[in-house]
């Protein structure tokens, strides 16, 4: 493991100091308190200011925490906003794949199971029930795997006991970890008959501008429609799902700019 990066530590110390004494400290105060060379402090502050992490109340004046840092980690993606950006793309995906299409997110601040926030029926006009608001098991579904793979915090909070739904459910934490690494590497997840017998799912991540996974988009249906005999996903479906997830990510980035 490489050592800590000194300039990051120093920048963090400046931010902690400014946050503790907002609008009280100027360049000299910060230099003296942190025992840094004045040019070093000046360079760090200028960089932080350019990033919007600190602001000066007036030129050459005292520092406060900047707008962009104040909002960092606060404005979580609203699930209903996510749905409104997903509707047209998901309709198109369901229409072209002939499969039910869903978007799932991890509920805010809880290690609970992923929640379905948008659901488009399989386009065969059979009787179907809207699944919005229901949960799916993270370790046994493609949607859940994409969310797990994208969140270190979520992986830490996994229970040691993984529930078994079918004979194919992966319940060994070590094997799950290996599979999650593969999901991260390939950028999609496929699960076949690990939650419901005869059912498979294929999912890809929806990301924010920083690249963080904020939701999972997937199609679900009969295993033999989604996968070949070796339980590998059909390449054309894979491409459709991945393209749609990227398109929604792009729309979100534009809307939240």
């Amino acid at each position: 493991m490489p050592g800590a990066i000194q300039s990051v530590e120093r920048a963090a110390a400046i931010l902690q100091l400014v946050a503790e004494y907002p609008a009280e400290l100027g360049l000299t105060d910060i230099t003296e308190t942190l025992q840094l060379a004045k040019p070093t402090t000046h360079g760090l502050l200028r960089t932080l200011r350019d990033l919007g992490f600190v602001e000066q109340l007036d030129p050459g004046g005292r520092y406060v925490i900047g707008e962009s840092l104040a909002h960092l980690g606060q404005r979580r993606l609203d699930a209903n906003e996510l749905r409104s950006h997903s509707v047209n793309w998901c309709d198109s995906l369901a229409g072209r794949s002939g499969l039910a299409t869903r978007v799932a997110v991890q509920p805010a601040g809880a290690p609970g199971e992923p929640v379905i926030v948008h659901h488009v029926f399989r386009p065969d006009d059979s009787s179907q029930t809207l699944q919005v608001g229901t949960t799916v098991p993270a370790h046994a579904t493609a949607l859940g795997l994409v969310l797990l793979a994208g969140s270190p915090a979520l992986r830490r909070h996994r229970p040691r006991q993984l529930e078994r739904y079918t004979g194919r459910t992966v319940t060994d934490p070590a094997r799950l970890a290996t599979e999650l690494a593969a999901v991260r590497r390939q950028g999609w997840a496929c699960r076949s008959e690990e939650y419901l017998v005869g059912e498979a799912g294929l999912a890809a991540p929806i990301r924010n501008t920083g690249g963080r996974v904020v939701a999972a988009l997937g199609v679900a249906g009969p295993s033999d429609l989604l996968c070949d005999t070796r339980r590998r996903p059909r390449p054309d479906l894979l491409r459709l799902v991945a393209e749609t997830a990227r398109a929604i990510s792009r729309d979100l980035a534009i809307a939240r700019r």
Partner: protein, 505 residues
Amino acid sequence: MTGARYVLALDQGTTSTRAIVFDQAGRMVAVRQREHHQHFPQPGWVEHDALEIWRNLRRLVPAALADAGIPPAGIAAVGVANQRETTVVWERDTGRPIHRAIVWQDTRTGSLVEQLATEPDAAEVTRRCGLPLAAYFSATRLRWLLDTVPGARPRAEAGELLFGTMETWLIWNLTGGPDGGVHITDATNASRDMLMDIHTLQWDPLLLRFFDIPAAMLPEIRPSLQVYGQCRTLVPGAPVAAALGDQQAALFGQTCFEAGEAKCTYGTGSFLLLNTGPELVRSTHGLIPTVAYQRDGEPPTYALEGSIAVTGSLVQWLRDGLGLIASAPEVETLARTVADNGGCYVVPAFAGLFAPHWRGNARGVIAGLTSYVTRGHLARAVLEATGWQTREVIDAMNADSGLPLRALRVDGGMTANNLLMQFIADILDTPVVRPMMAETVSLGAAYAAGLSVGLWPDLAALRRNWHRAAEWLPAMEPALRDREYENWKFAVTRTFDWIREEPAG
């Protein structure tokens, strides 16, 4: 027409124009969109530059064809859907408009309408065209142009000027413009002019006399589904095969072909149309009878229309006026922080009440306020307002038509709001269904045009293209529904007559 498998829909809307290519399965293959300028020369006046809109279309069509990878010869038919009642007058010889187009939202002819309403034939006008005398429709705008633009009336009488709504203008330009362009309107658009006999679908001499409009400038009224002519530009040789007003196009795109089928488009305002079949239903509850569509060689299918002025714009007000939410979809998040409306009701009579009340002197209220009410309750009451206004129009339609609604087909931006869609299903006690293809206006134009040239054999084939994307089933206790509706109706009475003769203060 071998190899021509695609349909080009031209959707000329209030804020933008779009060119959309559909395949034979009714799936969108390419879409290009361009906004045009909104001109507000005076309070209450709204104008568009018809030439700008035509120029936009000239850029959009080649781009959409290129996106789809289709040569012009691959287009089997062109269909037009358009903003209704917007009025254009132009020179037959040059194609130059004599004035900017006067848009459907424009209220400049309000005093002209008041004056016309006192004339002895006013009641007969409504009987013949089916519409209440209002500035909303095209006739008084056309009259204003003839009265206002110097030389317009004599030139119109001499046949030098042409009148049309947007589909007329675009089709004339597509089919050659000054060089042999076809000057037509379709029955759905013509049914909004106030100049057509709603039964015969012909220009009515009494109506023309009443509004003082020269017949020489009027387009020929044609069925909505008919080959009007061939494109001379953009997609040379492709037949222009359908035209529908935008709300009628949405009804067609939702495949509401049977009497008793209805759709509601939820946008800034909302438009509910109920197919009433071959029978024209006159409303005694404040709704407007209109032509739904007319196939070539067949009698027309009629619809009842109820428009709600403020729905999505109430959510925008919550965002921009009150700052309670950062984006419109967040209204659902905020509304879900509470279990019910907390006794609070919002009646958004911002500019009076439309159907079925028609109270110009009403203004909005927030009723039932107590210290218990939070922003969450307010958000819920805002969404419920759209639901209750839908219920009022549906009740009026049921009463007028005697056709009880079996399911409501919905489209438009607000259908992404699950809480609202569930609430509407609950209070209508009817399933609410969203189709897979959200772009129902352009889809309707494409369907009509494709049907016209035989790309689809019949209406049943179009129905097979229609698929449910989501369905909300009613789940509310009848007693709760009735009690809440009573509360809403009571809140509505609180808005009446707020604007009084003597201005307050």
